[in-house]
């Protein structure tokens, strides 16, 4: 694993020592090379995990997330070039350093064996993200957004720290590789109920669960493009990944403790999808759609069946790529009109037809069109929740319909119809933007040919 971590750390000296006209080229190229290295991890030979050392391992769940993380860094760098072009050189280098630091922490989080190490790195990802949102965001609301983001996550995760330490005292070790063999049922008592809550609430806030999701629209909307991309694509999946790891230790309380969160997720996905239909702010729409998709992942993780785990993993990867692409598209609008209001820049298909093709593909994958991997994820989740309880099909079906409704609403508002007269002088699409969308879309489409690699460890 050091073959990925050390090059990522070394991207920082690369940034600081590059010449002015080479920083973007150097960092994007080398981060693409690092992502190619991480692709080798997808070759998981057996059902067990690939153990690199006592501290790092990768199994069929963390390998796709790791590949997604490393794939996203060059994309983030490409997306940030335009809005940073007028800043002084040192600030550009600082921005890239923050992104690289975040990337290092994320790689180490996804491959950590020891759960306390996972916790420390999980918290460590907060600091660069906070700095990116608060320092480089564009509106005054970004200050509030950063505070909400930091404090919601910290309030949830401090009980997790205490719970992890008490589990270590009880069982002797928090090394994940050992725990999966040592697992015994947790005795039924009030304190174990609180232990369950303490372990899960951190990830529920991160996912986010419907009642605790207030930080997400603020943070996503106020962050600059790279911040939105990494938040939507990776940081939310940290919650899902953590939940998938920690529920192995929390049986059998999960069977009855999960009910309130299942109810909140099932209802929440309908609510947030419906709110998307009434949004005027484009980034806010995409943020609420993230909440809705993640609610599906929460449902899948909490019902704990093999198919639901497959659906959760596939949905996480698919949603990561899709929502990151949607944020890039929204940002291409924002860079031209400096406004996130949807109706302000409509009818773009006439002016930017190629970008309209990317908008179409992104909206289609967002509404889980077959045969994309979004469909595979959602379908597995819907099927397994139907087998858990027949009534959920009503809510799931309603959610799929409403998702289709708002995705098409977003597409039609921004692309179709007559264009507004004040945008007839926008710059045409840059090759960089088209390349960005292609690099998002190509893995998404190619994965539908072999979805086995993203189906996780219950395949």
């Amino acid at each position: 694993m050091l073959k990925i971590i050390i090059p990522t750390i070394m991207l920082m000296p690369l940034t600081w020592l590059s010449k002015k006209n080479m920083i973007w080229i150097n960092t994007t190229t080398y981060s693409l090379l690092i992502s190619l290295i991480s692709l080798s991890l997808l070759n998981q030979p057996s059902n067990n995990s690939l153990n690199f050392s006592l501290m790092f391992f990768s199994d069929p769940l963390s390998a796709p997330l790791l590949v997604l993380t490393t794939w996203l860094l060059p994309l983030m760098l490409m997306a940030s070039q335009h809005h940073l072009s007028k800043e002084p050189l040192i600030r550009k280098k600082l921005y890239i350093t923050m992104l690289t630091m975040l990337q290092t922490f994320l790689i180490m989080t996804f491959t950590a064996t020891e759960l306390i190490s996972f916790y420390i790195l999980f918290e460590a990802t907060l600091v660069p993200t906070l700095i990116i949102i608060t320092r480089w965001g564009n509106q005054t609301e970004r200050l509030n957004a950063g505070l909400y983001f930091l404090f919601y996550t910290l309030m949830g995760s401090l009980p997790l720290l205490v719970a992890l330490i008490s589990i270590q005292n009880l069982t002797g070790s928090l090394n994940f590789l050992l725990i999966q063999y040592w697992n015994q049922a947790l005795p039924d008592s009030w304190s174990n109920i609180f232990l369950w809550l303490a372990c899960m609430m951190a990830f529920m806030v991160k996912m986010p669960l419907y009642g605790l999701h207030l930080w997400l629209p603020k943070a996503h909307v106020e962050a600059p493009i790279a911040g939105s991309m990494v938040l939507a694509a990776i940081l939310l999946k940290l919650g899902g990944y953590g939940m998938l790891r920690i529920t192995t230790m929390l049986n059998p309380q999960t069977s009855f403790m999960a009910y309130p969160f299942l109810m909140l997720s099932l209802w929440g996905m309908i609510m947030t999808s419906s709110i998307c239909l009434r949004q005027t702010d484009l980034k806010s729409l995409i943020a609420y759609s993230s909440v809705s998709h993640m609610a599906l992942v929460i449902v899948a993780v909490l019902i704990q069946t093999p198919w639901s785990y497959m659906g959760a993993t596939a949905l996480m990867i698919a949603h990561g790529l899709t929502s990151s692409m949607l944020f890039c598209l929204a940002n291409s609008n924002y860079e031209r009109t400096h406004s996130r209001t949807m109706i302000l820049a409509r009818g773009l298909q006439t002016l930017l037809p190629l970008m309209a093709a990317w908008w179409l593909l992104a909206s289609l994958t967002n509404l889980a069109l077959p045969p994309s991997i979004n469909l595979i994820g959602e379908l597995f989740v819907v099927m397994s929740s139907f087998s858990w309880s027949n009534i959920t099909i009503i809510l799931m079906g309603a959610n799929i319909t409403i998702t289709a409704l708002y995705s098409l609403y977003m597409l039609i508002t921004t692309q179709r119809g007559k264009y507004t007269h004040h945008i007839n002088s926008i710059k045409p699409s840059f090759t960089r933007e088209n390349a960005l969308m292609a690099l998002h879309m190509t893995p998404l489409l190619l994965l539908s040919l072999n979805p086995k690699i993203i189906l996780g460890f219950t395949y």
Binding site: I120, E123, V127, T134, R135, L147, I165
Partner: protein, 346 residues
């Protein structure tokens, strides 16, 4: 002040603390405290104005009361044990009185009221000495009597200190008061684990002193005592703003910075002793502290506050030379990976 006299007074302060830390006779410890107190009054009053006079008077009165209570506890201990050697305290009454006296010296709740007012009234350098060096002597006595301290009283004082340190700092804009409330909260963390593992108290003290030293030196470097004047540092030395950000986040206890290490170790020690609710509450209340540190970082590092033309005058003055700032900054932010080395303390 005449440098020779200043050196003599400073040496007396150091000598007083050393006597407290190294004596085995209770009377010598009391003498060390008094020497320390009497010698630090001129240091607190380096600038002669009514505000420093008031601050020094408050400090003198509270610390003298505490020393008297300490003397009473020593005498009761002598009465019940018949000897002057410093070991555990043999009588519960004496233990309670001694704990209260030392809490008064440290600034633990409910004896915390003097800390913000005294710290505000004195200059930054004196405030630095007050909040770091002066805590060493009472803490060393607490360390030595730790087997006989009444757990209920100490834990109550600790938790209340964390609460007061968090809530009290929320409404402050003066940097010295913010550091004072931060000191109250950190003292709370230190004394909470005193009975279970005094080594961790010392670890927390060490890291707290490093971080407070760094913060004060950064304040001295930019000669700022209010949030507003701190927000002008981006004008003069933009690098300082990054350093202030890192150090404040470390004081708030965010991983992966070294301020997280004492909190983590303390939570681990407390949960090993089967108290789970207490460390959870302490950790959540530390978030209050983090909130006003974040507010400071917002105005200093993460936004560029509007500054008037007057601020450009600061460019004319030479930057003060702050000794040891780089190593201090490195130590107050990057020590977390060295945590496994703590196993040598067992």
């Amino acid at each position: 002040m005449n440098p020779l006299i200043f050196t003599t007074i400073l040496m007396t302060v150091l000598l007083g603390t050393m006597i407290v830390m190294m004596s085995s006779h209770w009377l010598m410890i009391w003498i060390g405290f008094e020497m320390n107190l009497l010698a630090i009054i001129p240091i607190l009053m380096k600038k002669y104005n009514p505000r420093t006079m008031e601050a020094s008077t408050k400090y003198f009165l509270t610390q003298a009361t505490a020393s008297m209570l300490l003397m009473m506890a020593i005498i009761i201990n002598l009465m019940h044990s018949g000897q002057w050697t410093i070991t555990k305290v043999f009588n519960p009454t004496a233990s309670i009185i001694m704990t209260s006296a030392l809490a008064m010296k440290l600034g633990l709740t409910p004896f915390h009221f003097w800390v913000p007012e005294v710290t505000q009234g004195i200059s930054l350098t004196s405030g630095l000495i007050l909040l770091t060096w002066q805590k060493l002597a009472p803490m060393s006595i607490l360390y030595q009597i730790s087997p006989s301290i009444n757990l209920n009283i100490l834990l109550t004082m600790a938790v209340l200190s964390i609460l007061v340190g968090g809530w009290g700092g929320l409404n402050q804009t003066q940097l010295r008061k913010i550091m004072a409330y931060s000191s109250i909260a950190h003292m709370g963390w230190m004394t909470a684990v005193l009975v279970y593992s005094p080594t961790l108290t010392m670890l927390n003290m060490l890291i707290y002193i490093m971080m407070t030293l760094t913060m004060f030196m950064l304040f001295i470097h930019s000669s700022s005592t209010t949030t507003l004047s701190l927000s002008h540092t981006w004008n003069k030395t933009p690098l300082t703003t990054t350093l202030i950000l890192i150090t404040l986040l470390s004081m708030g206890g965010l991983p992966p910075l070294s301020g997280f290490m004492p909190k983590w170790m303390i939570i681990q020690e407390l949960t090993k002793n089967s108290s789970i609710i207490l460390p959870t509450l302490m950790a959540i209340m530390a978030l209050l502290n983090l909130y006003f540190y974040m507010r400071l970082t917002y105005s200093t590092s993460l936004t560029m506050f509007p500054s008037t033309n007057n601020m450009k005058m600061k460019w004319q003055f030479e930057t003060k030379r702050i000794t040891l700032l780089p190593p201090l900054i490195v130590m107050s932010s990057l020590l977390l990976p060295l945590t496994p080395m703590l196993s040598i303390l067992d």
